[in-house]
């Protein structure tokens, strides 16, 4: 190790390996480097096979400072020899370290949740709230929902396409929703994509059977069908118009159709089977289909969209008067007429069945909600005892309702979740931990995909803007968890 060896020392090894005599090997190596030297003198470059390239490089004269006395001196121009090893040799030499790889260093210091720069609160809030907003949707009356759905779809498309003429009243409603729509622009795009897909699927399923018969009968429906065919081609604007249509159609029907909305998907196949009964019925089917598609899309949209419920509730009221004005502008004014006819038709029994089905489904959903809301869970005794001893005036509850179930996303921690839930305040993670001690053995035991229960705590404990709340939470975190 670390010996200085001459080429003479390895001569016998080379001779053994090559099978040549020692004498030949010696003369070979001597000649080799003689030639190399000559080549360097003559050409300034010598490439030795398997070893590498020796090159003469001319260095210009430069100024320097004598390290000892600080006086300036000039290093004269000279030549030096550089060596670049052959790729294979270089790699072989580096073999002991070849398995190591460059990796990106994180910023200095421990990564604390509260200095996470990439944290986007809006985005996370959107992840958290869906369950809540869906609940709200279901609690509303069906009519409200339809109107609401219609408006949102409407405004969404109009804003994206900005093609259709808007009546002043419409514009008002759009303004209402514009703020949220802009904020969620990204999500909208995604949803439009998915809606597009679902529309395509649904349309192709039913359309093929329905199309022919209707096309012969009524010119107005022809328009509709053709535009629907275009929809399958995936043109976004076409979808927009067809959804527009369905929306216009549903206005006169609202009261009758509304209750059936929550289960649109299940209705479709049944309808398609019973198709050949009567032509009017067929028309109704088509209209219903369009309506269903519109609602399907809108419900999906609403489920993901995060907006204040108050704003939502205002919308339908304003939308109602807008309807007649809009139908005048619309190319499909004739649609409402046949739609109403359909409802007076003999096939009402089917509608009734569907209504019953839908209301049953609705009832079930409500039941689910009820049980979900009623679920409660207890905090860990340690927390409850601590709170009773140190802050009896707060009257900390042992058992509270479960506000929601939270699925832990990849790479998240309790503090991060607390930030998501309590409007950017990470301090309340202690509460989250003590509410989930049945699944978490320690605060760091958190894994992605875990379902955590979020306590429905009173505002006096988890007020995002109260310093006192934060202080108490910090106290818990420090004293009970360290």
């Amino acid at each position: 190790m670390n010996e200085k060896k001459s080429i003479q020392d390895i001569l016998s090894q080379i001779a053994d390996e090559s099978g040549a005599t020692k004498k030949l090997t010696e003369s070979f190596l001597r000649t080799l480097f003689e030639i190399a030297e000559e080549a360097l003198m003559k050409d300034g470059i010598a490439k030795i096979p398997n070893l590498g390239t020796f090159k003469v490089v001319a260095i210009e004269e430069r100024k320097s400072v004598n390290v000892q006395d600080g006086s300036e001196m000039i290093i004269p121009a000279h030549k030096k020899v550089t060596f670049t090893p052959e790729k294979n040799l270089k790699e072989d030499i580096n073999k002991p370290y070849a398995h190591l790889e460059t990796y990106v260093l994180k910023d200095d210091g421990p990564v604390d949740p509260d200095i996470d720069d990439n944290f986007d609160e809006d985005e996370v809030m959107e992840e958290v709230i869906p369950t809540a907003s869906v609940q709200q949707n279901i609690e509303k009356t069906p009519i409200q929902e339809v109107a609401e759905v219609a408006t949102t779809t409407d405004s969404l498309y109009q804003e994206e396409i900005q093609k259709e003429d808007k009546t002043p009243i419409q514009k008002e409603t759009i303004k209402e929703t514009t703020n949220e729509t802009i904020m969620n622009d990204k999500i909208e795009n995604e949803q439009v994509q998915s809606a597009e897909n679902s529309l395509e699927n649904n349309v192709t399923n039913t359309e093929s059977t329905v199309q022919e018969t209707i096309a012969e009968e009524q010119p107005s429906t022809q328009n509709e069908v053709s535009s629907e065919t275009e929809t399958t081609e995936g043109v976004k604007e076409e979808i927009a118009t067809s959804t527009e249509k369905s929306e216009v159609e549903e206005k006169p029907q609202q009261t009758e159709v509304a209750p059936s909305t929550p289960q649109p998907k299940k209705k479709q196949p049944a309808k398609a089977k019973e198709e050949p009964k009567s032509k009017k019925w067929l028309l109704w089917l088509l209209l219903g289909l369009l309506l269903v598609l519109g609602i399907l899309f809108a419900v999906k949209y609403l489920m993901d969209k995060q907006e204040a419920p108050t704003v939502k509730e205002e919308v339908p009221v304003k939308e109602a008067p807008a309807t007649p004005a809009k139908s005048e502008d619309d190319d499909f004014i004739e649609e409402p007429q046949p739609a109403i006819d359909c409802f007076e038709n003999t096939d009402q029994c089917i509608v009734m069945n569907e209504l019953e089905q839908a209301s049953k489904q609705e009832a079930e959903e409500e039941e689910d909600n009820a049980t979900y809301n009623a679920a409660t869970h207890s905090f860990d005794d340690r927390l409850v005892n601590y709170m009773n001893e140190n802050h009896p005036e707060l009257n900390f509850p042992k058992t509270v309702g479960i506000k929601e179930e939270y699925t832990v996303p990849e790479g998240s921690r309790l503090a991060q979740i607390s930030r998501n839930i309590y409007k950017g305040v990470y301090n309340y993670w202690g509460y989250l931990y003590f509410f989930n001690t049945d699944v978490l053995s320690s605060p760091s035991d958190i894994k992605p995909g875990m379902k955590l229960k979020i306590p429905d705590l009173e505002d006096k404990f988890v007020n995002p803007s109260s310093e006192k709340c934060k202080k108490i939470a910090d106290e818990i975190n420090n004293k009970l968890l360290k």
Binding site: M1, K5, S6, I7, S18, L51, V56
Partner: protein, 91 residues
């Protein structure tokens, strides 16, 4: 002089066939490598010294993305020209 010229020159001078020169070249480099990997330096008289130098790991910064990268330690082959050859070159 490139590799071809050097091999043909050495064959001409020593009157060797291609196979032997190839075998000598490869076995020379193999033995050299072995010594270098053992931590020894190999000196070639009146030409220079070849040695493997260990380089420490270092932090480099990507000038475009400003990412801080930790480059691993490595070993590279270094050559130091002998004083004799250097003098000859600078005459």
């Amino acid at each position: 002089m490139n590799t071809k010229e050097i091999t043909s020159e050495i064959r001409k001078r020593l009157q060797l066939d291609a196979e032997t020169t190839d075998a000598l070249f490869s076995s020379f480099v193999d033995c050299l490598k072995e010594e270098l990997l053992n931590g020894n330096s190999v000196s070639i008289p009146s030409f220079g010294i070849l040695e493997a130098r260990r380089k420490k790991e270092r932090i480099s910064i990507n000038p475009v993305t400003k990412q801080r990268l930790l480059s691993p330690p490595k070993q590279s082959l270094a050559f130091k020209v002998s004083a004799i050859l250097k003098d000859k070159l600078n005459q």
